[in-house]
């Protein structure tokens, strides 16, 4: 349950999207909910994740993550803040010169004070959780799309964040794999309060997954959000 004073995980206030947008939208992602915003590639949808992470700032309005305008923070604080939020960017963003294992370990190595042994242990757990134990030594170019997406998700949840921002997480995956990744991202089918808050953007979402997404919106070309019936 959300306590009355708990910061709202993610809020977009009067944010315009896309070049031809004549409207702006306001959207709040409630804690422990999974919310998806779908839209065409040219709708400007791809910018939403960047706004949430403070990688870009919206031209108008604001994006608040845990009540904080991340993009307005000083650089060091901004970087530290992002470790509180898991992020799976479109195209995975895995570093090509690192193995999948090292990709998963990277945020822990730079963002935690853990010892190398502790980090190795944590990475082993993550690899097992995303079923990549046998593929950890592969480079991204040697892995298939499913393995890369699993590794990117493991990296995103490395710090066990309470909020996950996922850009096009299911594109190119079978419904079965997408369903499995969604469960991993949510943190399992435990009591509702234990689930992570998920914000998903993409062009489409597999129908099989729709029943597990509390709210689905579609972004119109005018820049407005319309709820889709789940």
């Amino acid at each position: 349950m959300t306590t009355p004073h708990a910061p709202r995980p993610l809020v977009f206030e009067q944010v315009p999207l896309g070049r031809g947008a004549s409207q702006s939208f306001t959207l709040e992602i409630p804690a422990h909910h999974t919310v998806a915003v779908l839209g065409d590639e040219d709708s400007g949808l791809g910018a939403l994740g960047s706004y949430a992470m403070g990688l870009d700032r919206p031209p108008a309005g604001r994006a608040l993550t845990f009540e904080t305008d991340v993009g307005a923070l000083p650089e060091r604080e901004r970087l530290a803040f992002r470790r509180r939020v898991g992020y799976l960017p479109a195209g995975e963003g895995l570093l090509q010169n690192l193995s999948l294992r090292d990709n998963i370990a990277l945020p822990l190595r730079f963002g935690s004070g853990a010892s190398p042994k502790e980090i190795d242990g944590r990475v082993n757990v993550m690899l097992a959780a995303v079923r990549l134990s046998g593929a950890g030594q592969l480079r991204p170019a040697q892995a298939n799309e499913e393995e890369r997406r699993r590794a990117a998700l493991a990296r995103a949840i490395a710090f066990d964040p309470s909020l996950l921002v996922l850009e096009q997480p299911f594109d190119g995956l079978t419904a079965r794999v997408a369903s499995e990744l969604l469960e991993l991202a949510r943190g399992g089918e435990s009591a509702e309060g234990a689930r992570r808050t998920l914000f998903i953007t993409g062009q489409e979402i597999p129908p099989l997954l729709l029943r597990r997404v509390e709210r689905v919106y579609r972004l119109t070309r005018a820049g407005a959000l319309e709820p889709e019936t789940v």
Binding site: L55, R83, L106, P107, F110
Partner: protein
């Protein structure tokens, strides 16, 4: 420097590993080329000088020629050109590729400072490599000069005597200072051009070309500045 002090222990270990790889590529792999260039250049210059200066009985000037012209001026300049040509291009192309593949944004999204992960190790590697290669260049130049002088009838002991007599502390620290100044240029300029690429793969060769040209111009200007101030 600030980026280096803010690294975690595990992050520092990663940065050191990348720095060692950079030194291996920039310095170790370039030893053969630097040895060849230094040896041939010194051999040709000292061969000609021994003959011509011998005619007017001014062979003592060979010491000045080796120390001032080769060790202090041409050594740092040629070494820097080799490093800029080989590694400057590689650094710019690598960082530009990181940028185009979305890896830089992914790092920022994970709360990792790209300067810590991408720039700092390459910068440190360039400084160390430049200094190491310059030592190799100057040693080979002095030894090749010895070979050339011996083949042209000069006594070996006499050769080293006049070279050492011409060498001052100022020559040594000026050479060391140049190594670090040129290493700084080769580490920073290509990193800057690599990271300013936006999202198009066609920008990668342009960034690499601009980086190496700018680094070479910077090296020549810096060299001229040393002469003017020295």
């Amino acid at each position: 420097m600030r980026a280096a002090t803010q690294l975690t222990a595990a992050g520092r270990a990663v940065a050191v590993r990348i720095g060692i790889n950079q030194v291996r590529f920039t310095a170790v792999h370039a030893v053969g080329l630097v040895t060849l260039l230094s040896g041939i250049m010194s051999f040709l210059v000292i061969s000609q000088a021994t003959r011509e200066l011998g005619r007017i009985g001014a062979t003592d000037l060979i010491g000045t020629l080796i120390v001032v012209a080769i060790v202090r001026e041409l050594g740092p300049l040629m070494t820097a050109l080799v490093v800029a040509g080989r590694s400057g291009t590689a650094i710019a192309a690598e960082l530009a590729t990181n940028q185009v593949l979305g890896e830089v944004r992914a790092l920022e999204g994970m709360g990792i400072d790209p300067k810590q992960y991408l720039v700092l190790p390459r910068f440190a590697g360039s400084l160390i490599s430049m200094f190491t290669l310059l030592v190799v260049f100057d040693l080979v130049a002095v030894l090749a000069g010895y070979g050339a002088a011996s083949l042209n009838g000069m006594n070996g002991g006499r050769y080293f005597e006049i070279v050492l007599a011409s060498l001052s502390y100022k020559d040594v620290w000026l050479t060391v200072l140049k190594a670090f100044a040129f290493g700084f240029i080769v580490g920073v300029v290509p990193s800057y051009f690599g990271l300013t690429v936006r999202r198009a793969p066609t920008e990668i060769p342009i960034a690499a070309s601009r980086a190496v040209v700018s680094a070479i111009v910077g090296i020549f200007l810096c060299s001229a500045l040393f002469v003017a101030l020295g």
